[in-house]
Amino acid sequence: MQRHLISAADLTRDDAVLILDTAEEMARVADRPIKKLPTLRGRTVVNLFFEDSTRTRISFEAAEKRLSADVINFSAKGSSVSKGESLKDTAQTLEAMGVDAVVIRHGASGAPYRLATSGWIDAAVVNAGDGTHQHPTQALLDAFTMRRRLVGRDTGLGRDLAGKRITLVGDVLHSRVARSNVDLLHTLGAEVTLVAPPTLLPVGAHSWPCEIAYDLDSALPKSDAVMMLRVQRERMNAAFFPTEREYARRYGLDGDRMAKMPEHAIVMHPGPMVRGMEITAEVADSPRCTAVEQVANGVSIRMAVLYLLLGGAVFDPKTAPDATTAPAAAHPRTEEK
């Protein structure tokens, strides 16, 4: 494991499988009367949210608290950021307070990378979504949900998603979830297909390790999992499709389309769902839709990530050379030595 989790593309297959296996054990904590482990006692984690979020922030907070970490919540609204403080100054404030990890959600792609590599702080950085770039814990929890449903809860341990056919449908252009999923699912051996209107595919998508299609109906029968992406209207400043109704007709998943999927196939949605747009209520409420399960799995995955990043000795960045840790080597941690 690296010291930070910035991008799903940084994870090797073994890293990813280790996180999924660890999450499987973490999930069992949720079944116990006392849903708490003492593992991160005395470690401080800051949730640094520059962008709105409900499920990701609450999920991280639940994971941190279940591992007994001290949690500090920060949201840009009502903080010095609204007075004009820069990311660097915010980071150095946190460093001065002695935090061990920063979970960052930022509207600008690359903000977590900047935080991790600029030498401003020594803390481990976990990307909780940056702009239209990456959302690695979401990709991990999606992979975890797929492995549980398509491979099996116990039989899946130690295994990847080799040969599974995953279809991502919708607003790929604005979706960090799609980018993270393509990277991680490819690493785990799955075959990924993107289905979207051409206007909602980013430039360069053809160089990603996946197939691209424009017709949903022909992709459904050969999918083990179909992930519907939300149309991110808040990021849209141009007309990407004529009307919402036309989008829903061509790229929305309804009961008739779901019937074309193989018997075992699941419907996934990273949330928040816009019912009537990319997914109908009938599909969203069907037992084949894993949206609620994904939220529960998110806590387990985030516990696993935090445990693997913070649970052991903080290893010397010099002995583990990778792109994200090089500048941090100037500030070796001394207190754990």
Binding site: D21, E25, I34, G312
Partner: protein, 190 residues
């Protein structure tokens, strides 16, 4: 790992281990007056196999199935920050839980006692047993905490320079307990 035990001496062989477990099973039945409410919890990795074997022996003695599970103590260790993160093992608590039961923890080697301390903490988060007892295959001494075993397969006086390695058929292909000499001056023992 095995190469460093090349000069190791076997102190218990397969038949010895079987006899020892039979004796411990009888001791548990005797002390628990029939072992009605006993739950066996093995500590991964090899404690789990020993617990399963003990459960079979107990069933032969009492004629009743004895609940058996596993208790991973990784998250409760006191040396987590001294080493890179460890992979977790499975915690499997039998369906009826441990509340009000007599929990017998099962491990292969009792050394510093820190594993058992962690196990007691872990138990605390899972339920409230009537009592907790400890069964180990080998007690090698050198306790660092006020902890003792209730059932001991073999007391093995050792020096800190020696290593004790338990091999079990389920994991290592054969049953044996090896006493060797530590190669590295400061290897991390449990």
């Amino acid at each position: 790992m095995d190469t460093q035990h090349s000069d190791a001496r076997a102190v218990l062989e397969g038949p010895d281990i079987a006899r020892v477990l039979t004796r411990i099973a009888h001791e548990i039945v005797e002390r628990a007056k029939g072992a009605d409410d006993v739950v066996l919890l093995g500590i991964p990795t090899r404690g789990v196999f020993l617990a399963r074997r003990l459960a079979v022996k107990l069933e032969q003695v009492t004629g009743r199935a004895v609940p058996v599970g596993s208790l991973d103590i990784t998250m409760y260790r006191d040396d987590l920050r001294l080493q890179p993160p460890r992979a977790l093992a499975r915690t499997e608590i039998p369906g009826d839980g441990i509340d009000g039961r007599l929990v017998v923890l099962v491990d292969d080697v009792l050394f510093s006692g820190r594993t058992i301390r962690a196990a007691l903490d872990a138990l605390n988060d899972i339920g409230r047993p009537r009592a907790v007892q400890l069964a180990v295959l080998v007690d090698r001494g050198h306790r660092e905490l006020p902890i003792r075993a209730d059932y001991v397969g073999k007391n093995l006086p050792t020096s800190l320079r020696e290593t004790v390695k338990v091999h079990l058929a389920e994991e290592d292909g054969r049953d044996t307990v090896l006493l060797g000499v530590k190669q590295t001056p400061q290897g991390a023992q449990r």
